[in-house]
Amino acid sequence: MTAVKLMKGNDALAEAAIQAGCDAYFGYPITPQSEVLEYLSREMPKHNRIVLQAESEVASINMVYGAAGAGFRAMTSSSSPGFSLMQEGISYLAGAELPCLLVNVNRAGPGLGTIQPGQGDYFQATKGGGHGDYRLIVLAPDSVQEMADFVFLGFDLADKYRNPVLILSDGAIGQMMEKVEFKNYVNPKIDKSSWATTGKPKTRERNSISSLHIKPERMEQHNAKLEAKYKLIREQEVRLEEMNTSDAEYLLVAYGLSARICQKAMDIAREKGIKVGLLRPITLFPFPYKRLEMLASQLKGILTAELNSGQMVEDVMLAVKGKVPVEFYGRMGGMIFTPEEIVDQLEKLIATQHAS
């Protein structure tokens, strides 16, 4: 028996955290994600879970470190400026290989920017963000349903790889209301006793959580271990959604909110007789390079649409290796393109090709 509810994206994510068996949530208010902290402040105590409003995002990410290091399912959420403050802690979490769930409800920047939605944190999310060589597994929801679904998936992936997982959402997905269905989820409760700091019994060696390897030989070994893990993630965890690609001559590539707008644009363009498909990366790391490269051979052109100045488009270009022209269209500053704007851009791309 599953229940269908009408919920805000942020509330759905928070409810999913409870159902996923999140032991502890640490957060700090920031628009447009404060509902997560509010929801969990109200609901977590009813489940005897830990919820704490920290004094800063710096503190909350380090509380996540402590909780995850002790073997608990821990989570935090923020929005762009606050998420920037967490980057040091995220680097430590990745270095110490601590599983946890992070959420960035992206707003437009740079700086204090605006509270309206944006996708300008793509580079930060997928290319490191903090210092040193590390990667997060990055999931990009495009609906309230996925705001919930990716919490369960995110916690499981985090545990599977002992790696932080980031849900990169945006202010629109976080704030809008849609129906959402919660499936029956069973927390696998994997055994973390071999590394978690729960108190050293006589029967085992002490457990240490650390990202420090002062000897360069050791540090390089640790880097290699991390890289091997990221390679495995690249091979096994690519997720994407495709629409109308079988006969497509043109391809829209977009994630999250942009992908929803592009889906409508694709429908309009199809009615006009343009053979266009849509590829929506669901995992931004690992990025679906291989699938895009495969599609490139059948395409005449790709239009990448993002709510930023052009970030994911660099990965699209890397994927297709120059086999097909890649154009970019974006809006910034919290402004959102319409499906018609995307169709216009697509038609321009086609016209340019016919002219040449």
């Binding site: 640490f26 830990i50 402590g66 006589k202 420090l212």
Partner: protein, 270 residues
């Protein structure tokens, strides 16, 4: 010469063995301390305080219930020496890490071990808020008035006029402010349950510090708030002194700014 060196490594570095069974054991190294050489300088307070904490853990038989949080600074490697589960926190964030560990495992004993740069500069917000929330943790605050690991820069606790590598003309109060008296500052917060300042520069001082640490660990069982044990630490290397001169410097100079003794003690239940 070579033979002597071999002798040194082969025999004298091994733990001394009591060959006369008639003797009673009056002291032994705590089993909660890893049997290894420490990286600390001669005369440094850290090795001594590590041992005191581990003695308390052994005496209370709470090795399996104790989780320590190490800072960034000279004692970043504390987990190499303390034979307990530990987490190494980002610079200044030990109190936030300890908060989470304790909240999730309220029956465990959780302590952070932090230096003055870590706690009183970059981490003062996390420290203050953890104490204000009355987190049931112990914060061991090692105050040696300098950044040790980065080789002796000015800290928030550097004495007025004290020369460091970044205050080569002496700490100028008019531009850097006065040294922060962490224990007094934090004792004002209602969440602070027990606040004391001690030193380890004499046998007497070591005994008092040990007692303070015993108190602080025992108070954790009460769930009444944060315990802060500030310890004035010797740092002969960065003070450019011999170990003996450093011990004397604490008695003659440091305690003028940082007087020793209890600052806040538990009030009797009415």
């Amino acid at each position: 010469m070579q033979a002597e060196e071999q002798l040194l490594t082969a025999e004298s570095l091994q733990a001394p063995v009591c060959r006369d069974e008639e003797y009673d054991v009056v002291y032994h190294r705590p089993t909660t301390l890893v049997d290894t050489n420490m990286h600390y300088c001669p005369g440094c307070a850290h090795s001594l305080v590590h041992k005191l904490i581990m003695e308390v853990v052994e005496e209370m038989d709470i090795q399996d219930k104790t989780i320590g949080i190490a800072p960034v600074g000279c004692s970043v490697f504390a987990y190499d020496y303390m034979n307990i589960d530990m987490q190494e926190a980002a610079h200044g964030r030990a109190a936030a890490v300890a908060t989470a560990v304790k909240r999730l495992m309220p029956d465990k004993y959780v302590f952070s071990y932090q230096g003055d740069g870590d706690l009183a500069a970059i981490g003062i917000a996390e420290t203050l808020h953890a104490i204000n929330r009355g987190e049931n943790i112990l914060i061991v605050f090692m105050n040696n008035a300098v950044y040790g690991m980065t080789s002796g820069q000015m800290a928030p606790t550097t004495l007025a006029g004290m020369k460091t590598t970044t205050s080569p003309y002496g700490r100028d109060i008019s531009s850097y402010g006065a040294p922060i008296k962490v224990a007094e500052l934090m004792a004002n917060l209602p969440g602070a349950y027990y606040v004391t300042r001690q030193a380890v520069n004499s046998a007497h001082a070591v005994r008092r510090t040990k007692k303070a640490l015993q108190n602080a660990f025992q108070y954790q069982q009460l769930h009444k708030g944060t315990c802060l044990v500030e310890i004035i630490g010797n740092c002969p290397s960065n003070w450019r002194m011999t170990p003996l001169e450093a011990s004397k410097f604490i008695d003659e100079e440091m305690i003028k700014t940082f007087p020793l003794g209890d600052i806040k003690v538990p009030q009797a239940e009415s």
